[in-house]
Symmetry: C2
Subunit: 378 residues, 2 copies
């Protein structure tokens, strides 16, 4: 049997870093992980307790759009976070935000359609699009724009646009008026907008705005993975315009049947675990402060303002034009795993690195010490 053209998606480059880190650890070295994009903390205690209480019941298929109580709880979050009054009928619970992208792309685009996205950006957008016979169209963004696209950057010949705020790897946030300008421009061009808001809640003062604050004609995607610390649970959601609900429901019934039932039970309880989520946030905030103070001293001073998420994206073009070997060298010599920018920006990522600060503060502090020693010796 031969494989398809569309199945030929790019590998994750960070996987090679992680494999090299694993090997070093297997050989007895201690590695500081600043490459992984996930919290080290478990799901909130209340979420795990709610699941433990439910384990006696048969957790069969749920309805495709998710447990009604969970959809209501998510809708209530829009009131809490943004003051937006959201009809729970527009909330679709999905197997991670990853599942939401599959649903959104199926519901919005036909084979051959072109979808614009900012570079640097989350690599899987590009690969999921390819695997679904869609064409990713990169928009190179500028550090002075906080690596976010301008309305006038939007090509006239695309059917879709993916926005991400806070972005991965940049951590930068779109302001309310920027969201309005971008979605207005897209609407004028007849371009469907998908707004990835999965790092909402992880905010260090700049605030965060949902695209739903400026328009209803948008697909908003979010997840329990990051703020609620539930990556492995594969549970996320999307908010769709009212006329799209039935289409998305039918696709979800067939493609997924339903999101994982146990994860839905846990997620519903997680919505109330605000204290624990905020405690995790306080750790990221402290880590971020350390990085912001020390990275520039160490020699990584060309960074996008890390307004949200748990990443810092650094332009290292004065140090290397091969981020892959540079990351390998940092791992080898300093024992710190970082992500080469090529995963996020196929064009310019050979000159950038991403540092994740989702780990424990003691680890981040040690990582910084090691980076300082490495750069001083270079």
């Amino acid at each position: 049997m031969k494989t398809s053209q569309r199945g030929q998606v790019d590998p994750f480059i960070v996987m090679d870093v992680m494999e090299a880190a694993r090997k070093a650890e297997a050989a007895g070295r201690r590695i500081i992980h600043m490459e992984v994009g996930q919290p080290a903390t478990p799901a909130p205690k209340g979420a795990r307790q709610a699941l433990a209480r439910t384990l006696e019941q048969p957790l069969g298929y749920t309805v495709a759009l998710g447990l009604p109580a969970l959809r209501q709880g998510i809708a209530a979050l829009y009131q809490r976070w943004y003051g937006v009054d959201l009809d729970p009928a527009r909330v679709v619970v999905t197997p991670g935000s990853s599942g939401a992208f599959i649903l959104a792309f199926s519901a919005l685009f036909d084979a051959g359609d072109r979808v614009a996205l900012g570079e640097p950006g989350y690599p899987s957008y590009r690969q999921i699009l390819r695997a679904m016979s869609l064409e990713p169209v990169g928009i190179p963004t500028r550090i002075e724009d906080r690596y976010q696209p301008r309305p006038e950057d939007l090509p006239g010949d695309v059917q879709g646009l993916i926005l991400a705020s806070p972005g991965n790897p940049s951590g930068t946030v779109l302001r309310r008026e920027e969201l309005a300008a971008l979605t207005t421009r897209a609407a004028a061009l007849g371009v469907s907008v998908i707004s990835d808001e999965i790092y909402h809640g992880l905010d260090y003062g700049a605030g965060f705005h949902s695209a739903l604050e400026v328009t209803d004609d948008v697909v908003v995607i979010n997840s329990f993975s990051k703020y609620f610390s539930m990556t492995g649970w594969r549970i996320g959601w999307m908010v769709v315009p009212e006329p799209m609900i039935r289409t998305v429901e039918r696709i979800a019934q067939n493609m997924f049947i339903c999101p994982p039932h146990a994860s839905q039970v846990a997620a519903l309880a997680a919505l109330d675990c605000v204290d624990e989520a905020e405690a995790n946030l306080a750790v990221y905030a402290a880590n971020r402060q350390m990085l912001l103070e020390r990275l520039p001293q160490i020699g990584f001073d060309r960074i996008a303002p890390p307004e949200g998420a748990f990443y810092i994206y650094a332009d290292v073009s004065e140090l290397t034009d091969d981020s892959l070997s540079f990351a390998a060298e940092i791992l080898e010599k300093a024992g710190v795993a970082v992500t080469p920018g090529l995963d996020f920006d196929p064009r310019r990522g050979a000159r950038t690195l991403r540092f994740s600060y989702a780990g424990a503060s003691a680890d981040i502090a040690e990582g910084l010490d090691r980076l300082a020693a490495f750069m001083a010796a270079r």
Copy 2:
């Protein structure tokens, strides 16, 4: 925003039945459910206990192909069930067999490719194919062939073929030599074969054979949903030919990141819960025996031999040419929910019904009494 062409998949007709049943129940009526295709039992106790013990740990993203121990455990099942020696590297853990179909279709087919499947068959094959810009090509099968395709039925102009044994809705099983003949014919035509084996283990004497017993050049799809009674956990697997592993791994990394971690932990333990799975099977076997005795007496005598799964598919063409209204009438008058065949066979399903016997035996017995009274009064 406008929705895509490929997003216009058909609704599940059984959903209307389920909604009508729900309304009747809300109005105080007791309905017997012979429409749902899932066990009423929870996941095996050992599976739930294993998860409960793991809940303190952070259940983060796993590697995309699944926990190595789970892949090994699944490979061992091929030794146990079929005497096949399977390299665990070829096992891919997926978010339900539904997720496996998405991965397999992405890895094997390009937009516009045509994929053959037997009619009647599981409706979602058709809809997932459509949502991925692929064209389902129905092969009408015959009751005298136990509703399974013949090798000579395979069209010359398709790129793929989906086999299902035991089939849904038919419950019929492909013999080893039939699997060999079908896969040989497909190979001769250059057609990629996907073998859906998700009802394996649910067997009432006819036995069951994996396509892996006759060829390695096949994608085999299976799931913890049915035999292991874990539908809502969304955990399944596929076995791919060695040269496809890397391609599938990359697609899985991007489309799903990983299967639900908690469900992987539970599934690993479920593999050892043979007693509980066999106890569930004994209930289905008793239910099946009841149906086989009484359905013909009641007037449903044109049925495919229900060799596996937990379904009986009946040709009711002597009773109706509108299975949808007939099912509605049975629900209304007898208070028994059954599935109209149109979901499974868009061409001939107006003259067929599916009875599911996954429920409790007392319910099935009462359902049969009610059906008998309904048919006698008709």
